[in-house]
Amino acid sequence: MKLSPMFVTGVALVVLWCVIALVAPKLATHDPYAIDFAAILQPPGAEHWFGTDNVGRDTYSRVIFGARLALYIGLLGVIAPMLIGMTVGLVAGYFGGWIDVVAMRLVDITVPFPFFVLVLSIVAVLGPGIENYFIALALVGWVGYARLARAEALVLRRAEFVLAARTMGFSSGYILLRHVLPNSLSSIVVYLMTDVTLVILFGAALGFLGMGVSPPAAEWGVMIAEGQTYISSAWWISFFPGLAMVLIGVGFALIGDGLARMLRIER
């Protein structure tokens, strides 16, 4: 399999961010939470590479530490929706019948609502915080995985090797786990990559709206919100976390795109 340049770039970006997150304390030039009255709203320069915010905190160090939160949210946030969605989708697609009807009606009920609006209202009801964001994601985000897994399972259950396994008397659970799941995994992984991007972006959006990670945490959405009133006079407060978000999002999106392209060529 030939690696697409998109994929390589994406992996490089994501790996870079993972490294940044891992060694954040080494890379940071300042304590990301240290308030400095003498250095309020300093523009980017030798002392503060990305400038300082409205209470004198170093934006560069905060962006670096923000990578930890972003990856934490992005990678953890997709696990529950993926597991739930995959299970529901595979079971529904493989067995069909009333299970399929019930599962797909559930999907149909969830899909018409804009994803973010639904997440937002669930978080509003449960209260702000990252845990509640994860709960909301689990409640809403599984739908995409379920549809995808079901479509794969529908095709796979008529595949010759599945039929063969069935005639040989293997249990449904075994077939699902050993044959259907591995063969549908590739498209799910592609979707997973775009979903990570989405989860990071929405997490930041919640932080921006004051419903996600709460200040003074060095979270990119929170930082963008803090810089909002300063956008015309101290652009760097919001710009750099925004840029970081773009770079991490592009990284995951490129992996997803590259993977999809490579798999398509293979087929």
């Binding site: 308030i35 009255f37 409205n54 004051g210 709460s214 909002q228 009133t229 015309s232 006079s233 101290a234």
Partner: protein, 499 residues
């Protein structure tokens, strides 16, 4: 040359038919909502600013800040200071009916005694209001009150039409309210805009000079600034400190810093630990570099507060001052009383995030352990009212430059709002508040208010932070418009120039 000018003019005319109409309008964009037009039922900022445009009052504050006769042409005060007689001028409501003493009595009684009145404190001393004849009104007071005349120009003392309100009830303030002020309602779209047009029967002849006005609700500060710089509005109510420079650097618009009685302060809860302890309050005060906080938050546009009084109030005493910034001494105070590690829960709203971050840093630096509790504005008020908080930060303003109402709001423990819900309750302060209200002699009053400042500063009833001006953005085309400390627009005297 001549032809070209005509062509240009024609092109401009053709392109901008609607814009020419709009030039007769002063558009004010504000984040503060106009939610109700009945002058007595709300003390919300957006409403207060609209009331003055729709309802005239018996007294008026002129542009130099002097109290002058309004709808009352003249008045007499009896020697004991208990009976006030007002002679109304010949004036009409916007619907053409005369403004009578009946209307004035009705309006003042509503503000003073109606159960829906949001702010009756200013009229509490009034015992009875009598109508002597169609144009003469007389009231008697329970006790003398030095600021009562000035209180007649508070936002809720606007004169409304008795007949109309009695006939239509609440609806009288929803569709086409009858106006006694410079403007009347053309169209009101709640949550969008209040469109006003000149009241043809306004008693001040020749005013207002500008035919139309619009109060537009724009909550986002960046959007307002952009609209102002693009000429889509003439006034930007409230420019955040960081935007002032950019607006001032733009041609045709500028920010005016207008005097206010606004005081930003830290409110400690006196009913429960840790802030019921004077040592804690002292340490918490000395831990704060209030000058640095002021500069950080307002970018140098505000003055550091020294007293529990706003510096724009009468009888403010500049010689009194809060304990100075001294983190070492603050630490020592805590150590001596074994209070190092005292936990503080600071309740904040999104609007005070920055101040809270700074307070927490400085408190923690001397040995407090501060945690931040985030609430929305609605929850904030209910927690305040129930004294369910340790400490928070907020601000308030006073309707007049007389300190009486400010003290009743923020420092008097028996005046309804429990010292701005801090439950600070000092009997001497409470008594002084009443004594100062009744004192006719200015010098003696000054002494009483000085004493109140001394006590509340030494006991650290609250920790004042800074005095801010109002920062409003204006198009250079607008002349003569300002926002008074009482949050009233001088719109009736404003002009719009070309260019």
């Amino acid at each position: 040359m001549y032809n070209r000018r005509i062509i240009t003019a024609a092109a401009v005319l053709a392109l901008s038919g609607t814009i020419l109409m709009a030039q007769e309008t002063i558009r004010i964009a504000s984040p503060y909502k106009v939610t109700v037009l009945d002058p007595i039922v709300s003390a919300g900022g957006g409403n207060i600013e609209a009331y003055g445009l729709l309802y005239s009052r018996l007294m008026r504050t002129d542009k130099n800040g002097n109290l002058v006769p309004g709808l009352a042409e003249r008045y007499e005060i009896s020697e004991d200071g208990l009976t006030y007689t007002f002679h109304l001028r010949d004036a009409k409501f916007s619907d053409g009916t005369p403004i009578t003493a009946d209307d004035a009595a009705f309006s003042l009684n509503r503000a003073a005694k109606d159960e829906n009145s949001a702010y009756p404190a200013g009229f509490a001393p009034i015992a009875e209001i009598a109508v002597l004849d169609e144009r003469t009104l007389q009231w008697t007071l329970k006790h003398p009150s030095a600021p009562i005349l000035a209180n007649l120009d508070i936002f809720n003392a606007g004169i409304v039409s008795k007949d109309d309100v009695e006939e239509r009830g609440e609806d009288a303030f929803v569709t086409n309210p009858v106006s006694s002020g410079p403007y009347m309602v053309k169209e009101w779209k709640p949550n969008d805009r209040l469109s006003l047009t000149a009241n043809p029967n306004f008693w001040r002849e020749g005013l207002p000079r500008v035919e139309n006005a619009e109060l537009i609700e724009v909550s986002d500060a960046n959007a307002r600034a952009t609209m102002l710089m693009a000429g889509e509005i003439e006034v930007d109510r409230t420019v955040p400190w960081p935007q002032i420079e950019e607006i001032n650097n733009t041609d045709g618009v500028s920010v005016k810093l207008e005097p206010s009685t606004v005081l930003y302060l830290v409110l400690p809860n006196h009913t429960r630990p840790p802030f019921d302890n004077l040592t804690v309050r002292q340490a918490a005060t000395m831990a704060l570099d209030r000058a640095a906080i002021t500069k950080a938050v307002t970018l140098g546009h505000a003055e550091v507060a020294n007293s529990t009084f706003s510096n724009a109030l009468k009888f403010y005493d500049p010689s009194i001052s809060m304990p100075a910034y001294d983190p070492a001494a603050a630490r020592k105070l805590l150590e001596d009383d074994d209070l190092v590690g005292t936990e503080i829960t600071m309740m904040i709203t999104p609007a005070t995030e920055q101040i809270a971050t700074l307070l927490k840093a400085q408190w923690d630096a001397v040995g407090f352990k501060t945690t931040v509790e985030r609430v929305d504005a609605g929850l904030w008020w209910s927690k305040m009212a129930n004294a369910d908080y340790d400490v928070t930060s907020s601000w308030y303003f006073n309707e007049t430059d007389d300190p009486d109402l400010a003290i009743r709001w923020a420092l008097c423990g028996t005046c309804g709002s429990h010292s701005y819900y801090t439950r600070y309750n000092n009997e001497e302060v409470n008594e002084l508040t009443e004594e100062a209200l009744r004192e006719g002699d200015e010098e003696k009053r000054a002494g009483l208010y000085r004493r109140i400042q001394e006590i509340t500063v030494s006991e650290i009833a609250q920790i004042p932070l800074y005095y801010t001006p109002y920062a409003n953005g204006y198009s250079d085309r607008v002349k003569g418009l300002s926002l008074t400390p009482a949050l009233q627009w001088t719109l009736e005297e404003a002009e719009l120039t070309d260019g």
